[in-house]
Amino acid sequence: MQNLDYFFIIQAWPLFLKGLWVTLYLTFWANVAGLIGGALLALCTTGPYRLLSAPAKLYIEFFRCTPALVQIVWFFFCVPILFDVFWSPIFMGVVILGMNLSAFNAEAFRAAIQTIPRAHVDAAVALGLTPFERTAYVIMPQALRYAIPVLITNGIGLFQQTSLVALVGVDELMYNGRLISTSTYRPIETYTFLVLFYLAVSIPIGRLAAFIEARSDRALKA
């Protein structure tokens, strides 16, 4: 067994940081897209219009029932050809990860919307609120609070899934880690460090999430 040497990591540090930055960038913007997309999809599926609910359901099924890796590969190779668009790999990553997360968040929102008692909607109609006003001021604020635990779980899951886009050439943490490992011939150290690195970021994010969750819990009960 060869000697383990972690010293080279110091030299590779800038590349790690660059990768981490891209990973966090992907996570953040894909979550923004996933929250908005998820909420809109959930409104479509729970709404009265079949013309909206049927395609939304199909979309959700599609993204939940196919492997994320396959979606990513398909998206990166086929979309530029099919639609003749050429986006930066990072932007492509945000779009496909956001589309995937939207499907999972839509389910969280849908479940939350369905726990809101029917009587609240009746009361809102009796107060003369229009469908838009009911959605904006009565249904979605409550649904968001109920859905927060699952939205956070999905969001953290996405942080880990960003590593998948390394396979299609987005130079995030995983991609740069592989670069370092092949150029230094030190895969064991590099990948061990990489795992620890993901962990070191995940744990604080998880803590922060738990804190937000506890606070929103109180807001709903209070």
């Binding site: 009361a123 109609v125 107060l127 609070r145």
Partner: protein, 269 residues
């Protein structure tokens, strides 16, 4: 409120304040018929108490008047103007008139994510364009009038059931309704909380508010009603002033019902 008041509830046509003709309502694509050609009229001086057996269609009747249900046939007019009507399968609702009817439900319907003040001001501010400061002043005034002003910043979960229902009534009053509908608003309450809610409704009644009340509380019914109607099998089976109704109901069903209710009330639980 001050901003939106296009519809005038005239006094001259008091006799035609509310007129329901041939109202039909069914669920499950017409399989479950709930209202079968119900007729009912109400003047602007009336406080109508609706009693009847469970499943008789009382809630459905109020929900139809509130405009919460599609109807199969019939029409509801208010002050001689068409308010709700059935147009081959579709239900037409005049939203202008609907906005001037308030309803309070059996289950608690305060929005849990908003405090009491925000529950009261939501509809005036967001839907009727009332400036927030004006709406908040009015909310404070109404809450003071009903002895609830300590609860303005409380969240619904911090209120007792009786307080929740009183705030729900106050929330409806914020919109200056010309007709109030109460559907068993005390049925979910612990017995010791019933009287504060009833007292609030009586105060409103004494102020001249036209109302339609579904209740199983016969004391309350006698106290507040100008007319009692017996609703069973989706029609009005009896319609009389309270003294007459309770003394000698003409239909057998109403007689049986009153005997049962009075008997149940007399029995210790």
């Amino acid at each position: 409120m001050t901003v939106l008041q296009p519809f005038v509830w005239g006094r001259s046509m008091a006799d035609h304040f509310l007129k329901i003709r041939g109202l039909e309502k069914s669920y499950a694509m017409g399989v479950i018929k709930v209202l079968n050609g119900l007729d009912l009229t109400m003047t602007s001086k009336d406080r109508l108490v609706v009693i009847g057996p469970s499943g008789g269609g009382k809630s459905t009747l109020l929900r139809c008047i509130m405009g919460l249900e599609n109807i199969a046939a019939g029409a509801i007019d208010i002050n001689g103007e068409p308010y709700i009507g059935a147009d081959n399968g579709a239900t037409r609702i005049d939203r202008r008139i609907q906005k001037q009817i308030g309803m309070v439900f059996q289950s608690y319907t305060l929005f849990p994510h908003l405090n009491v003040l925000k529950n009261l001001t939501l509809a005036p501010v967001r839907s009727r364009g009332v400036p927030r400061s004006v709406a908040e002043d009015r909310a404070r005034e109404i809450m003071r009038r009903f002895g609830l002003d300590q609860k303005l910043t409380a969240y619904p979960s911090e209120l007792s059931g009786g307080q929740k229902q009183r705030v729900a009534i106050a929330r409806a009053l914020m919109l200056d309704p010309k007709l109030m509908l109460f559907d068993e608003v005390t049925s979910a309450l612990d017995p010791e909380l019933v009287s504060e809610v009833i007292a609030m409704i009586i105060e409103l009644a004494d102020g001249g508010m036209p109302m339609m009340i579904v209740t199983h509380d016969m004391w309350f019914a006698r106290r507040i009603a100008t007319r009692v109607v017996f609703c069973a099998g989706g029609t009005i089976a009896e319609d009389a002033p309270p003294e007459e109704f309770f003394a000698r109901p003409t239909s057998q069903r109403a007689r049986d019902f009153i005997n049962n209710v009075l008997h149940a009330n007399a029995e210790p639980a």
